[in-house]
Symmetry: C2
Subunit: 307 residues, 2 copies
Amino acid sequence: MTIFDEATAVTRRGEGTYDARPDPRFAMVAPGGTAPPAVNGGVLIATVLRAVLDSSAHPHPVATSATFLRVARLEPAEVQVTWLKHGKTASTAHATLVQEGEPVLDVTVTTGTVPAGPEAAAAAGPARAADPARPLRSEDLHWTDAPPPFPPIEECVDLGVWPGAVAQGGAAGFAAQIQVLFDPATTGWRRREPSGLPEMRGYFRLREEREADAYLLALAVDGLPPVAFGLGATGWAPTVQLTWHMRGVPSAGPLRVAARSRHVGGGWFDEQAEVWDAADRLVAQSTQLARVGRGPVHGPADGGRPG
Amino acid sequence: MTIFDEATAVTRRGEGTYDARPDPRFAMVAPGGTAPPAVNGGVLIATVLRAVLDSSAHPHPVATSATFLRVARLEPAEVQVTWLKHGKTASTAHATLVQEGEPVLDVTVTTGTVPAGPEAAAAAGPARAADPARPLRSEDLHWTDAPPPFPPIEECVDLGVWPGAVAQGGAAGFAAQIQVLFDPATTGWRRREPSGLPEMRGYFRLREEREADAYLLALAVDGLPPVAFGLGATGWAPTVQLTWHMRGVPSAGPLRVAARSRHVGGGWFDEQAEVWDAADRLVAQSTQLARVGRGPVHGPADGGRPG
């Protein structure tokens, strides 16, 4: 059992009630200690998903929408699961991570089934050609846009522990559990020379040997530093709302995570991420709304692209 | 009072309880009558938002996440609102649209404040130049990516009523209330000559004269035909989950809505939309996961771009 599996474990206590415990090994603190220590949000979402999938008739969390209400403390927590609908294709549950009677994380999950490998009916053309007598049905449709540009993994860089990924007392926390090999084009902020573009790309994996699955995807979609770092805003950037879709069961090998923002303003920024597996399949997508972290902006000297 | 305002009206009955009524004037039926008549999802979300904002300390729904559980009937409904957190910058409510004791639409809304007009501190450069002694703070940050390409409005086309936007008995329903002037590049499906690209773009407005606001944005983010139409799949495509972010108060004038998909497969497709106002500001963003509608695929002869 890996540390990640231990950190996201839940124990069924009764009908729709599970015990959990935010794990200090995935803790993060704000740079300069400006906020209380927190546990990585993706780890908390994975914990809630374990409780939901425990009683789901469908195997995959196809749509997960999470709102972060309070900072999770390193204390016992309870996950409460209520099913809103049981369907043939999809079922939906509402789940809450609760600490000391207060909701910490509010999650709605729709479970269903996603493909576990390259899809048989590749596209309109081939399917038609194989059996021209059989009209193509929309269930057969398969279409994917181009993947984001990625340098080869050997050109990517390990930044080690980054601001916001360290635990209390300077212990490595979250960053000690995962490894991100960054596209060097998105790492200027580490030298106080941000690129001026709110984007982040990297190869993502747990440091321990472990197969990628839905729980690890929940970690990966929010596993890179905030894209606002690319604009020089390296303060604590709390996620308010995160929605992610599981689109396929990931194959073995490192995951590629590409995140970018479309708009930063009014103290808010969006972050849209995609996770591609080693077989070049889009396996997860996410969008989140976060607060721009308070604090000074470091560079860029050239001002970036004004809005 | 416009038909849209009437159709989304709620009446407070008690603490956190509101009466509503899905309006036949925004009804839609599946092509070929393969599903019961439904009310447009954006209208239902706007209805729920009215109930949430009625008791919100903050003016704007900055993050709304909605899961569609059942088809809303044209009968009385109740909106139940529970506040999960009241914060200085943002507050979060959980709300449910209920009919006959069953949840129809499950929504989590975070309210806050978004800019109402061009932002003062435009970007790093100017802000720094204005007062070089004052270090730029991340709250001042403003950055926007390039808008999607749009033809001039006079080159766009009104398709009238499209499949899926008609009400029972052939009445115009939803499509009689709104006008979309489509980018002609995204209208081939109407002639059974789909472009082979899952995208849709159009200028969007109510047919009645009415200012754009949060409620109209809730309609606009899901106001175009499903992007799967662009692949020739013009069957009923039910939205399972839709999340949208309000990023600015829209200025007067037509809204531009651009939607596209990144991946269609396993019977699911994502649809990501942006709404830009006439002053060229990104005012809303959405992402949804929907089922590919059942039924035959019409064209494209060239097979589109295989995934």
